[in-house]
Symmetry: C2
Subunit: 387 residues, 2 copies
Amino acid sequence: MEVRARAPGKIILAGEHAVVHGSTAMAAAIDLYTYVSLRFPTPADNDDTLKLNLKDMDLEFSWPVGRIKEAFPELGSFNVSSPASCSLEVTKAIAALVEEQNIPEVKIGLASGVSAFLWLYISIHGCKPAKATVTSELPLGSGLGSSAALCVALSAALLSLSDSVKLDFDHQGWQIFGDSELDLVNKWAFEGEKIIHGKPSGIDNTVSTYGNMIKFRSGELTLIKTNMPLKMLITNTKVGRNTKALVASVSERTLRHPTAMAAVFNAVDSISNEMATIIQSPVSDDLSITEKEEKLEELMEMNQGLLQCMGVSHASIETVLRTTLKFKLSSKLTGAGGGGCVLTLLPTLLSGTVVDKVIADLESCGFQCLIAGIGGKGMEISFSGSS
Amino acid sequence: MEVRARAPGKIILAGEHAVVHGSTAMAAAIDLYTYVSLRFPTPADNDDTLKLNLKDMDLEFSWPVGRIKEAFPELGSFNVSSPASCSLEVTKAIAALVEEQNIPEVKIGLASGVSAFLWLYISIHGCKPAKATVTSELPLGSGLGSSAALCVALSAALLSLSDSVKLDFDHQGWQIFGDSELDLVNKWAFEGEKIIHGKPSGIDNTVSTYGNMIKFRSGELTLIKTNMPLKMLITNTKVGRNTKALVASVSERTLRHPTAMAAVFNAVDSISNEMATIIQSPVSDDLSITEKEEKLEELMEMNQGLLQCMGVSHASIETVLRTTLKFKLSSKLTGAGGGGCVLTLLPTLLSGTVVDKVIADLESCGFQCLIAGIGGKGMEISFSGSS
């Protein structure tokens, strides 16, 4: 049988950087997914390996189950229903397993992703043979939450086979988890994220697990249900960023200009909260979809100006802004800035011809364009084959 | 004999737009001047006309003194030492005098400039023949205070011949007025500005009269003496702006997002005050010129981001920003935005070769570049010929 799980990527709608200094930020799920499929050999297959196939990169890793058991003498002591952090001892054991695979060094972050895979797989499912196949619609390392989506989809797929989750194995198509089961997925995914990112904020895995939007401030997360369809053009400048250095540069600017920057962060806080209000408010005669979109566009433009004030924009981001502005579309960077991705709101009434032209212009600059619905589904799961 | 007066233009260093909403702004004199020369015919010349020669535009207007007397039956009732606003009746009489001159309609604002000339001339000097010649290093209507510089230079030249000002007519070269005399020049220039602009802020004429820098907030002006040389590249995008519409658009945005915009204005206020502190602080071992310049550059970048947040930037401004950023130079729009001029700080240690390259790049975009010292002299006067 095959278990398939998918989990969405995320964007930061408003409040990046300022959130580090106490402002509210808004993150949203996007309808671009990472898919994890798990297939289990029958005894007749006589296959006693754990395989990880990263289809988009054309890479496959494989460990004999005996080799894994050897590396984890205390196997079986894990408790699926209470996610735990990877101990130093286990980290070392995993590192050894990963090292054996001769992972191409050019793929930055790949080794940590494989480590997270092994940790989640072994912790949740134990030491059993399987073939895990990963594909993704999300560009890697561009701030769209691809690593969190991987951790969420993998945790979901593995938990669906555990006693902690109740599902209908005969159901056709995607199905979702119950609330407490989602909480468990989110917790495990966060443990995976820790292996990949060290100190993740937990925003990415939370958005990927539950979908919709999340308002967050000082570590407190609030789920926001959207009351309007929202489509964004996501332009990947492909310019690599050093998120830590960018966060540090904003902190240094804040130390140099505490009063001015405090006011800037207040402005961002207010923008995030206004966005949340608009997105949650029902479409009514008072405020049409177009009016709501115009308000969001103005708030995006304002947030972008404030991010420029923080000093985290980049020539490539400015190029995207200029290009989309030619078509009277509003954009802002999303995430760390200094490159990475830019959001452009695509209003409901915008013609496809215009969208095609914008994309052609942006692609001619060497950028990658993705269109995504915003604030949609979280993780989902489906089964096929005889169980 | 000939009286020559010159008065500087101005830039807004920080706080444009936000000042309308209660923030502090900083304006500075630039060492680009408008020159007014007055020559008076001898009885032997048998010339009984008042001439205004606008040399840069190759235009000359001329009024028989008798025609002016006809238009102003109550002539002689003006009091030089107490500047008064132009009454409705006088406005009409001046409009008639201006109308007779067939002023080219393409020169927007020219008629009001000629009206201001007549009002100041007749009010301060009475109805006597003369030839006034005006030349300027300031591009017209680009927000660099060319109209205020004209009003200041003209008022100064005229007042230098009145009993209200004590000067040394035998002094060679430029000389300055006493403080109370400067106050009088400033008041008259403000009356001229009213004719040109309707409701001027009074900043432009004040900076042009006193030079240096001025910090202003809620109508209160404070003269700031600079303790550092400061050089700016001023790029005139030549894109015409509608200042009133831009000011209105910021106010509308403020009504839509009162909390966010209040925070933005607070940030600008803090930036203006920081700039004033840096500029006034003596150069010491604590803070070198280069360190002071770097701080100013950062504050300019921050102010520009906040102006973008207010929505008053423009594609042409962004082009200037992008071009100067390539050379690691910091820029911000100055004045109303939506086109107009952009400031780029030229650090003391910047090589002339780089400056030449930046200017070449900007001029290739069709922009006009001016280099100006910032925070220098106010109006000055000189006499030549036998008195």
